[in-house]
Symmetry: C2
DNA sequence: CTCCTATAATTAGCAAGCTAATTATAGCCC
DNA sequence: GGGCTATAATTAGCTTGCTAATTATAGGAG
């Protein structure tokens, strides 16, 4: 049985989400939040528009996720005085703390996923996935 | 910038979904339906449980999708007389027709995604993605 | 200054996906 | 047969994600 690329991507993506789910839940997070914490890790203070692009979701989707994160004290949003349309997003201490756990969890999953891969194969895989993105982005 | 596997998978998956979206919409389908049509293509008459497993979604999620598909005349469900818990799912002519278009669409996207890949690279990619799934499945 | 357009974020309404709980049937053991 | 357990599907309630429409602000052209 020859699987399509679409099928394989879907399967892997679903599997990774599934692996994440229970731990995420235990941390009191929902599934959309980890990617935001991971993004903010190195870009604290980013504007919503940028975060959405970096997380590959629409600004409207991000808006809902951030509302929940703000409510549960993971981030705060501050309006920019020089341009009142922009909201910069900052992690709270709690957010930063959970962010670290998420990062650790991501790398655990990645390690397990890549069991048996040589250094060279990992590099190839990464370059293939990047190339696919670029090809479709046109 | 070194991206995590999780990030790259997420990005590619999101991009493929995005590419599908508009064409899917034009065919009158919603995003959950194509994978089911694609699955049924070679397995008409499968039982819901099997379809869910093959599509990497939960039976509960499939249930909702199938309700919509039955309502719009893409499939019919028939109870098995020998085991009244099982529902076999059959494509209608309309379903089969749209299934063919979906398959074509999938391969168009795949072709675009793999632009510049050698035959050997495609094979490697497929084996990597399969391996990742198996590693995580444990 | 006013109008027009562009941009950032949000809201509304929908589909997809999940878990947990429910319903209905099956199968086994006494 | 009666009662336990297992299994297939559905329903309920939630979050994520989308598009389309709305709100608020910015900025340029006349």
């Amino acid at each position: 049985m020859e699987y399509t690329l679409h099928y394989l991507l879907m399967a892997d993506h679903a599997m990774v989400q599934k692996k994440l789910f229970s731990d995420i839940r235990d941390m009191g997070l929902s599934l959309g939040q980890p990617k935001v914490l991971d993004y903010l890790k190195d870009r604290d203070g980013a504007v919503q528009k940028e975060i959405a692009r970096g997380c590959h979701i629409e600004p409207a989707s991000l808006s809902t996720i951030l509302r929940g994160m703000e409510k549960s004290g993971l981030i705060i949003r501050r309006m920019q005085e020089d341009n009142r349309r922009n909201l910069k997003v900052y992690m709270t201490d709690r957010g930063r703390e959970l962010g670290k756990e998420i990062t650790k969890k991501f790398s655990e999953i990645e390690k397990k996923a890549l069991t048996g891969f040589s250094e060279e194969e990992m590099e190839k895989l990464r370059s293939f996935l990047t190339k696919i993105y670029e090809n479709l982005e046109e």
